[in-house]
Amino acid sequence: MFAVSALAFSLACTLSGCGKPQDGGALIKIGSVAPLTGPQTHIGKDNENGARLAVDEINARGLTLGGKKVKLELLSEDDQAEPKTATIVAQKLVDAGVVGVIGHLNSGTTIPASRLYSDAGIPQISPSATAVSYTAQGYKTAYRVMANDAQQGRALGQFAVGQLGAKKIAIIDDRSAYGQGLADEFEKAARAAGGTMVAHEFTNDRATDFTAILTSIKGKGPDLVFFGGMDPQGGPMLKQAKRLGLNARFLGGDGVQNLNFMKLAGLDAEGAVASSPGLPIASMPGGPDFRKRFEAKYGPIQLYAPYAYDAVNVLVAAMQRADSADPAKILAALPKTDLQGVCGPIKFDAKGDTQGGAVTLYEVRGGKWRVLETVK
């Protein structure tokens, strides 16, 4: 009976054009893309939740554009962290008529998708794609709210040689646009600071066995191993390294600076160092408050949720300045963004990168990520 009435209701909706909510406002669609299946699912869901929290809050507050009340709707898509799926779901969102996209999560998916958004003239704000090339393609639609790999790799390379005193360095990257990009920037900076690279090995973002490359690295006797990649590989990698008796310092980027890495590496995580763009969440201007609101709804923050949250707010602020949900008018308003986000002040440079993004270094001590220092 319930099913029948629900069907009747939805049918009535279709007939009378219920695209609009009851209070008469129009529905504005925003896309969110992240891997929602596969090894990085937990981080992808985290991004979606961050964006959803922002959308829900804005809807609860009420949004008025051009004198009319409007309601936001978040269309969430799964790109499986795969470049080819990314372009398919990007097209799907374009066809669905979204006015802006929050995503994607990985650099490897954000870059191929960015062309489609650029062709369609839809603004794209990635919460977490850090590869330099994303905003270097010259697309007027590509923005991000996080420091890029050049800034992060530089900080990591200098820190490895300077503060950690590494001389012989081994690098592992997962061959993704993110991992490779970060590893390359790291290598440049570490070399410039006087470090020697003794090995460069590769894995992929689906692998679980690293014993072979770690054994090979152990033979070269490095005092630091840098990993460019995400926590599903980083955690087990560190565990396997310790088991093989490879006691070099472990260093990684923002892909491993999360709770899951600690869970996967267990006690072996002790002493690992990793960076993350931006400030630590506790020192973010709106961090502790954001954490409270987020965790009440979705549980612990995995990684980039605050950035996805900020990205939605950047997009909506541009809408409000343009007083329109027309993508072309939003695009015209985006360069003038000057927003106090959860993660800090957000302003864009000519390419769509954030200005003066900070990078913070963390170390695992006593089973927790503790802040070492923040570099500008």
């Binding site: 929602l36 299946t37 596969g38 090894p39 699912t41 937990h42 869901k45 061959r175 090995a199 460069h200 090995e201 590769f202 894995t203 992929n204 689906r206 679980t208 066995d209 014993t211 072979a212 490359i213 054994t215 090979s216 152990k218 033979g219 599903p232 955690g235 087990p236 565990k239 396997q240 088991r243 093989l244 008796g245 899951n260 869970k263 996967l264 267990g266 006690l267």
Partner: protein, 309 residues
């Protein structure tokens, strides 16, 4: 030398796990000529069930020694996987037994996708980490570090293989399996209950897969709903390498593939002067597979058809 020995040990441990999973592929293929792509997922379910049981047990009785807890986990996982494989065969494959061979193959892929998604719903999308309850004793032989866990995995795998071998060669059920493999119709005429034999084959393969699943998750310290896919693919390759349908072939193929992968990843960079790196690890393993298949299309031990189970 110590690095070479270490790589060999890495490869042997990985290879014994491949071999155990490959046995399930090869047994089913031997009897039905069906590639049961859901077998990798059965392995995953084994790991997940065992982890849940282990988690429960450590919560209830934290003072129990780790080895016992893991053993209990295995003992829970085995019947779970057996029941699962029994159900898969009955629901998904048996109705298609007289259908063209492509139909059950596609069904197998479908079952694999269903199991992955069910596991995602039950155990979540996160990686589940294996609690550090096993003793981490390490021994050093000629500079290579060998852990107690690694020794246990290899020894247990060899025992299981020997046990399966005896079962197929020496018992009534084994004889019925061999007869069914040679000719289903004739076996049926001789009074063999073919349906029961086929069920038994699936269930037996699943029991071994459950143990292999626990081994993988204990060895790498993690499990997730996605882990069965690549493992299944590698194990299937191992079965083909050794000659699919042949028990000894699956064991040899598994061990070989593990060692080739480890040595390939470890040395390819040095051998080619950095031209090819360890990113060619999987390519290298599959390259060897292609090479073997070109020279011996039926696999390394694929000719002794009478021996297949």
């Amino acid at each position: 030398m110590d690095i070479f020995l270490q790589q060999l040990v890495n490869g042997l441990v990985l290879g014994s796990i491949y071999a155990l999973v490959a046995l399930g592929y090869t047994m089913v293929y031997g009897i039905l000529e069906l590639i049961n792509f859901a077998h990798g997922e059965v392995t995953m379910v084994g790991a997940m069930v065992a982890l849940s049981a282990i988690g429960l047990l450590t919560g209830v009785a934290p003072e129990l020694p780790g080895v016992l807890v893991v053993l209990a986990g295995i003992l829970v996982a085995i019947p779970a996987c057996m029941a699962l494989a029994f159900a898969i065969e009955k629901i998904a494959y048996r109705p298609l037994r007289r259908a063209p061979r492509l139909a059950p193959l596609i069904t197998a892929i479908g079952v694999s996708i269903i199991l992955q998604n069910l596991a995602m719903l039950i155990w979540g999308r996160q990686y589940v980490s294996f609690p550090a309850i096993l003793p981490g004793d390490k021994y050093v032989f000629f500079g290579a570090q060998i852990s107690l866990l690694q020794i246990a995995i290899v020894v247990l795998a060899l025992l299981l293989m020997a046990g399966l071998w005896l079962l197929v060669e020496k018992t009534r059920l084994g004889r019925a399996m061999r007869a069914t493999a040679q000719s289903r119709e004739v076996a049926e005429l001789m009074g063999v209950n073919v349906d029961r034999v086929i069920s038994a084959t699936f269930v037996l393969g699943a029991a071994i897969a459950a143990i292999a699943g626990v081994m993988v998750s204990a060895y790498y310290g993690l499990a997730h709903y996605y882990m069965g896919f690549m493992l299944g693919l590698k194990a299937f390759s191992a079965a083909v390498l050794g000659g699919i349908g042949n028990l000894a072939g699956a064991m040899l193929g598994g061990l070989l593939l593990g060692v080739i992968e480890a040595l390939g990843a470890g040395y390819i960079g040095d051998l080619t002067g950095g031209f090819l790196g360890s990113n060619y690890q999987d390519v290298f393993a599959f390259f060897v597979l292609i090479g073997v298949l070109v020279l011996r299309p039926s696999g390394l031990l694929g000719e002794r058809v009478a021996n297949r189970a």
